[in-house]
Structures are given as structure tokens and as C-alpha cells.
Amino acid sequence: MSQYSWPDPSTRPLLGKRISRVDGPSKSSGRAKYTYDYNPQGLLAGKILRCPYAHARIVSIDTSAAEKMPGVKAVEVIQKPGAEIFWAGDEIVGVAAVDEGTVDDAIRAIKVEYEVLPHFVSDAEPPKNVATDSGPISEDDLQDMEENQVPDDEVIAAIQKRGISFKPTDKDYESMKGMGVEPPVIAALRNAKYVEAPAKPKSAYKKTALQTQGEPDKAFAAAATVSEGVYGIPCIVHCCMESHGSASEWPSDNEMVVHISTQNVSGIAPQMAEPLKIPAGNINVLQQNVGGGFGSKFSADRWDINTANLSKKAGGKPVKNMLDRKAEFEVAGMRPSAYARVKIAADKDGKIVAWDSRSWGTGGVGGGGTPPLPYILEIPNQRKQNTAISTNQGSARAWRAPNHPQAAAITMGAVEDLAAKLKMDPLELIQVNLAIAGPRKDTYKEEFAIADELMGWKKRWHQRGDTTAGNIKRGLGLSMHTWGGRGHNSTQDFSINPDGSVVIKLGTQDLGTGALTIITIVAADTLGIPLDQVKVMYGNNHYPASGGSGGSTTSGGVTSSTRRAAVNARDALFEKVAATLKAKPEELEAIGGQVQVKGDTNRSLAWKDACAKIGAVPLTVQGKNPNKDEPPDLTNSGVGGVQMADVSVDIETGIVRLNKMVAVQDCGLVVDVKTAESQVYGALIMGISYALYEEKILDPVTGRVLNPNFEFYRLAGLSDIGELKVHMMTGKGYDERGVIGLAEPPVVSPGAAISNAVANAIGVRVPFLPLTPQNVLNALDAAGGSHA
């Protein structure tokens, strides 16, 4: 058994309480500094000339006029003549100048000639005659699968079945590892047979082999009810308030300092070292606060490398380039679209027996994601096939719970339609099918009972189609979701100073999730001291490494390393003071600002007096999480959550209004109830936003993004959210599982729950999100034109 554990619930002065985020005052007063705010003396403005065409070849570039302009300090051609460009907005030339006006003028003075090539930007349903992708896996195919987070077992199966058409070297394997390719995939590549790539024209469609499990044909034939439908979500954009970008400077020819907007402080330098040709150890990565990431800020991007190169060319002077909003929409990531034709069947009791899905979607040139269908439900008989569509647009990036929101919208939409066909309450249908709801089924059961209570579901639910008079129809919908969320690797230095103050150093980041707050809470709770005695230093790659903040791995990761370090430090302190208290170190406890013999307040030292025994220099220890292949102790994997939505739809205008949403969520041990709830509120609001408003629209004629701004790419505002209720699962059954990440799971269900509520209100399914007036009215028209 591990020597580390969370304290007993009866001795947690701070854990699990409702505590305000420790960096709240700096943020609300505007003092908090972000990469965008970095503004040293002599700062140069960087900017990039971007390709206006969705597919083109560069014929010539003439930067001479720009270079001669007064105030221009450096010019770098990023992609040279001859290069093929695959999406509008791709980087061509970078310029640094004394100010933004000058750099804008210089960009306009650059002449680039393009050979415009045919582009393809549609993610409409692929034609029926697309052949299954069966040839060997190319290097590009592998990269696409990894970027699209195709499950490892599917990747391995494809490698084994189809062979590979490239010959990776040991160095390639190393770089794959660095990019997060898991060891079993690398082992499969090492054992793969080499197959010559067939010469064939490039297709925009990559269709997987048909996957079959059980006997779907038999099951559909024998089923009492079969429901068919189309569901899906278009591409949406992260819309971080702080755009991507960085500021670089070179104190010497071989040293670089970069301020960068990132969710991966410890992982940036290794990515920059090779292109900049300096050792990673000579790169100092700094970031105090980050204005949103949501999965899109893990890499040192081409524009960041360009910024560093421009700085070097400008004699090492600081250069800052934060993407403008248009570029942000074009190149800085999006969530892949996913759509599916689904057939789902149940027996006479509502037990789901069969599933068939043909899904498709795009994530840019690399194809699309593979939503895990059917979501959560382990339907015994299934058949499925996915087609990834390669389109000429900036590539997808991880977007909060990659692939899950799409899979939930498709699956839970189909389940709701099945329930409607059975004339069954979907809550009852889910309950009938909990046996196939995977490892978190008991959690869903408890959570649905609470959600029912908070929403008044059983009292208020009606059969599909609100039959009350008038043009406003009201309805209820639900969904459920799961996520892993085990803590990542994290190491930290933990010092107790002789005056009793505590300093923690780790190379992590706080995306607004409250990471800084929960680190502080765990340290103070373990040592029995107030929060303001603990200072957390983070956002610097020279501190011990922590993982990137992705996949909801930070909370479990940083609280684990903090608990370990704090326990180590506390025990080391006990060694120093045991003699004074005439006790053995293991007989001591740190509680209520004292170090004392357990349960004996008469044999105690005030915290400060105890720390005075440390000596002249601070007591420093480390906390280091176990490797991923060891069983977790302070963290865990796997959470469940359920959500319900209540909407009103005006069937004359098609406008959907959110009346109320309920979220019931598990995340293991809740460290801080306040910031945990905020995560869930935030996820609901982001979910309402993508359910009702968001869509990245590409122009089929020009291949450009038509709405690369906040006027025509609509986000939810304060008036759009309705009443929100959040309930965190705590106590027995949850606490003892340890700390599990919370950022992804609650953003999975809103699209499905809201879409289901709209179907329940208006009596027909609006197949695709967002639930805009146009999509709602189209669905009503298709169902017979009833607008009243």
C-alpha cells in the first residue's frame, strides 16, 4: 500500500470546503499579468502575412519593399516559393517592426504570387461509393490518427492489419514518444510489416473498415422497436479570450526567454529547441496567467518559432506576436465536426439491443475525429463505420473532452428518439439500460435521482411535442457523460522556511480552473496552517516539471504531488522538533497552527516556533507522483455526470431559450467546492453556447472562414444562460477515490441534453447543432411545415 493517502474526513481543516480562488484579487483588480500584457522597453511588434487561399502553391515572394521601410527590424520568410499551402490563413512571412502600425504597413508591402489550386471545405455526408481505406498506413495517416485521438486499440489493429508504408528510425520513435504516442502503438509499429504504398489519387475521404460486434442484423430483425435518425455537431472554435502567441527575446546568442500563452509550461522548451537550434535547457519559458486554452494551447506553434527567429534577427530585442482574432479562427484550432446516421433498436421493455452508425466529420486536412460510438452504452450488437473528411482548413486541436460532446450528441439524441418512439420517458429508458452503462453505472443512477429532484423531471416531463396552445413550446431533455481524469506526472520542490512560511515550485499553469488554489489548499491543509502562509510559484519551466493541462489531468496531478511533498516536509519537520516535544516523530501531528503530540495540546509548539528548529536554511523536499503504470493512490480515473435541460422554443421564429439546466457531477474527492462548481457552471455555459449558437462557417467558393470574429461567430452572453443548478457528488463512494479532474466531463452533455429538450418541446428532432432559428425552422418544415 502507498504511504500516501488523503486525511480522514474528520481532520480536513480546508479540503472540501468552499474557498475563494487565491488569485481572485489579482484578476478582479486587473493586476494579473498575461502574456498579451508583456510590454518591456523596446518591445517590437511581430505580425505574420497569411495566405488568403485555402489551397495554393507559392510562386514568388518579394519582401524588398517591406525590408526597406523605416522601422522594420526583421523579416523572415516562413514558407518559401514552391511550398504548397493547405488552408487559408497559413503562415507565409513574419515581420517585426517598431510598432503595430508599421508592421501592418510592412505586411501590406510584401508581394506574394500564388498559384491557386482547387480546394475542398465541405463536411457534408460523403458519397455512398467511397471505398474503404485499406492500403498500408502512411506516416501522415498515423499522424492524423494520433491528432484525432483515435483509440490506441484501433490504431494498433489498423497497423497490424494493413501494415505501414514508411520505415521509422529510432529517432522517429523517440519523437513519437515525445509527442505522446503510447508505448503499445510504438511496439505495434516496430513489429509492423512494411507494405509499399500503392499509387492512387488522393481522396478527401478516409473510410474505416466496418466494425461489427455481436449479431446486429439478427438483433435489428428481432427488435420490438427500431429508431433511425441523423445527428451531429459542426466545427466550432475554441475562442480563447487571450489569443495564441508569445514574446521572445535573446539575452545572448545561445539563450532565449519566451513568454507564451500556453497550457503546457513544462513542455514548450523541448518543442522549441530543435527549430531554434539551441539546447532546451537554454530556453526559459514563462507565463503567469493564461487567458483560456480549452485544449488549443499545448504546442510551440510555427508563429512562436517565427517570433523567436525575428527576435534573433533583430539583435535579440523582444518581439511579441499575439494572433489577431481572424487568424485565431483560421489557424489556432477548432473542434472537429461529427455527424452520423444512426439506427438503434430496443426490445419490448426498452432494453437497447442493437446499434448501427455511419459517422463522418472533418478536423481539417488531417481528416476528422473518431467519436466513441455508441457513447457509454455497451450495446451488445453493433455495426459502425467512420469516414474522416480531409478539408482545406486549419487543423483541429483538442477541444475540452475531445470527441465526447459529439459522441454524446449523436448517441443520446438517438436514445431520446428511441424513447419517443417507445412513448417512454427517456429517464426511464436510461434506467432500464443502466446495466450496459459501463463502470460508472451506479454513479449515474444516484446522479439521475438528484437531477430528477432538482429539475422536477418526473413531475414535468411530457410525451414528445408540447401540446399546449400557442407558439411557445416547452420541453425537457437529458444526457450523461464520462471521462478519465487521472492526475498527470507532476514533481515539485516544497520548502518550509525557518519563519514558517512555505514555498512551492512547480512548472504547471492555472487556466482558470483553480489549480493554484487547490495546490495552496492541499499544502495548508496538510500542515495545519492558514492559506496565506503558502506561496505557490509556477509558470516557469525551470521549476520541476508538471504535465500539460489537458484531459482534466492537472487537478489530480498537482494535488497528488502537493500532498506527497507536504507530507514529506511535515515528516521532516517532525524529525527536527520531536526531541523538543520529548516524543517520537511519528507521534506528532500538525494541526490548527501547532505541531503537537497527537491529541495533546499541552505538548505543542506553535507552527512558527516549530519551524524555527529547521535551522538557518529552508527545509526543502520533493513531491513526485508515481509513474502511470503504477496504481494511482491520491488520484483516480473515471467520473460520471448527468445533465438535464429545460427549454422554450418559439415555433414561429425558431428561437430557442434556455430556461434552466441542472448538472450533477462526480469528480472523486472535491478539494474546493467553490472552484469545482465554477468549472461545472462554466462548462454548462460553454455547452449552451455551442448548443445554440456556435458554428465555424467555411465559404465553399473561397475556402475562407466566413465568420472569423465575434460579430458573426456568436457566443452565449449573460442573457442567454437561464437558471443553472450544479450539484457536486461528495462523501462516501466519491471521496475515497481521490482527486479526479473535472474540466472536461461537464462540457460533454449540454449539446445532447439541450437538443433533446428541443425535440421534446417541438415534437421533431433538429438533427444538427447549433439549434439556430434556421435549423429549428428547417426541421419543423421537414416534418410537415407546422409553425404553429
Binding site: S20, R21, D23, G24, P25, K27, S28, S29, G30, R31, A32, K33, Y34, Y36, D37, N39, D99, E100, G101, H238, C239, C240, M241, E242, S243, N289, V290, G291, G292, F294, M322, D324, R325, L511, G512, T513, G514, K674, T675, E677, S678, Q679, Y681, G682, A683, L684, I685, M686, S689, N709, F710, E711, L715, A716, G717, L718, S719, I721, E723, L724
Partner: protein
């Protein structure tokens, strides 16, 4: 020019929009006549600023701040660049998101949509001046208490907007809040907390 030109109806500002277009045509046709900073347009003498740098003096948080700026520089970029006052954030840069909200003569404006030269003479107040003797203002403290912030990038804009809203609506209803605080975007989804801040600060009705 009057201080509050941008908010006057067209007819009272001295130059109508149609005239302005004529002026633009004049400057485009006769660019950079050195030493000339007044042109005749629509029968009136109209001063021309730029296109090079011109001296700009702004009254920000009670201090006079001067810089040589091109006329195309926005108030937001003047604040964040030469004056290094970075609380107001640049997010959409075209008047849609409110992250750059500052007060101009007490009224909230999107600083990305006001030219620095046009802000001369006005009293500019940024988030930095809303702290009271170095302490959080009641609105700021409420943002912390209600956890009305996550990444925090939209927060300064929201704090300025909320402060101004509450001055105008000391006892807001939930409907007032919905309408009055819809000019700012947040991506992390902190509206629930912001709504609570506005209602609790005013002791108004709870949503």
C-alpha cells in the same frame, strides 16, 4: 473639436459623415501636403491630423499622459502600449466582446473602438483606478466572493462594466442585469457568478 464628438448627433458635431467622406477623398487625392493641417471641406475649414505621428495627451486615471502616436492608434492600444496600462484587454479588437471596457467621462466604452486622438480631453478611467486606496472595490471583492472569474482575461472589462451598471442601476432587477451586462463576453463561462455579483451588490432581487 469638442471632447465628446463621437457621441454627438451628426449635425451638431460640425462635420457630418457625408462631409467626412468628402474630406477623406480630399486627403486621398492630395496626400501629405507638408505644413498643411487644415483643409476646406463642405465649405468649412477642417483640421487634419496625421498620417504621421502627432502629439496626443490623454487624461487617464487622473494623470496627464503624453505620447507621439499615429492617429490610427486606438485608445486601447495607447493605454496598453506606450502607457503600459494593461488591465483593459484586447480580445476581438472590434467592439464585440467588451474585454477592453473603460470609462470615458464616466460612461463605459469599448476602448478598441475609440481613437486615442478622439479620447483627448475626456476623463479616462481604467480598472486600475477602481481599486480604493489599494484595496479591492466592493464590486471586485464580490467578483472574488462569487467566483465570477476563471481565466480572468475578460474580468477587468466585466468589473468596469458592472461597476458602471450598478451606478446607473443601484437596485437592478434580474431583467436589468440580463440587459445591462450583455455587452461583454466570457469564454470560461463565469456569467452565473457575475449575475450573482450584480444582484447581491445591489441587494436587489435574487435570480
Amino acid at each position: 473639436m469638442k471632447d465628446d464628438d463621437t457621441r454627438q448627433p451628426e449635425t451638431s458635431s460640425g462635420v457630418s459623415r457625408r462631409d467626412f467622406m468628402k474630406i477623406s477623398a480630399v486627403t486621398a487625392a492630395v496626400p501629405l501636403v507638408m505644413g498643411t493641417n487644415v483643409v476646406q471641406a463642405a465649405g468649412e475649414e477642417v483640421p487634419i491630423q496625421g498620417p504621421g505621428k502627432v502629439p496626443v495627451t490623454l487624461n487617464v486615471n487622473g494623470k496627464k499622459l503624453g505620447a507621439e502616436l499615429e492617429p490610427r492608434v486606438t485608445l486601447l492600444d495607447a493605454l496598453r502600449g506606450p502607457f503600459d496600462i494593461t488591465g483593459a484587454k484586447r480580445v476581438c479588437d472590434r467592439g464585440a466582446c467588451g474585454a477592453c471596457t473603460v470609462l470615458m467621462d464616466g460612461k463605459p466604452v469599448y476602448a478598441c473602438s475609440v481613437l486615442a486622438i478622439d479620447a483627448q480631453g475626456a476623463k479616462i478611467t481604467t480598472i486600475e483606478a477602481l481599486t480604493e486606496d489599494g484595496k479591492l472595490s466592493p464590486v471586485m471583492a464580490a467578483f472574488v466572493a462569487h467566483d465570477a472569474q476563471q481565466c480572468g482575461f475578460c474580468t477587468p472589462g466585466f468589473v468596469v462594466a458592472t461597476t458602471s451598471f450598478l451606478q446607473k442601476h443601484p437596485k437592478p432587477t434580474a431583467e436589468d442585469v440580463r440587459r445591462g451586462l450583455s455587452g461583454n463576453y466570457c469564454r470560461c463561462g463565469t456569467y452565473n457568478g457575475i449575475r450573482a455579483v450584480a444582484l447581491a451588490q445591489a441587494g436587489g432581487e435574487q435570480s
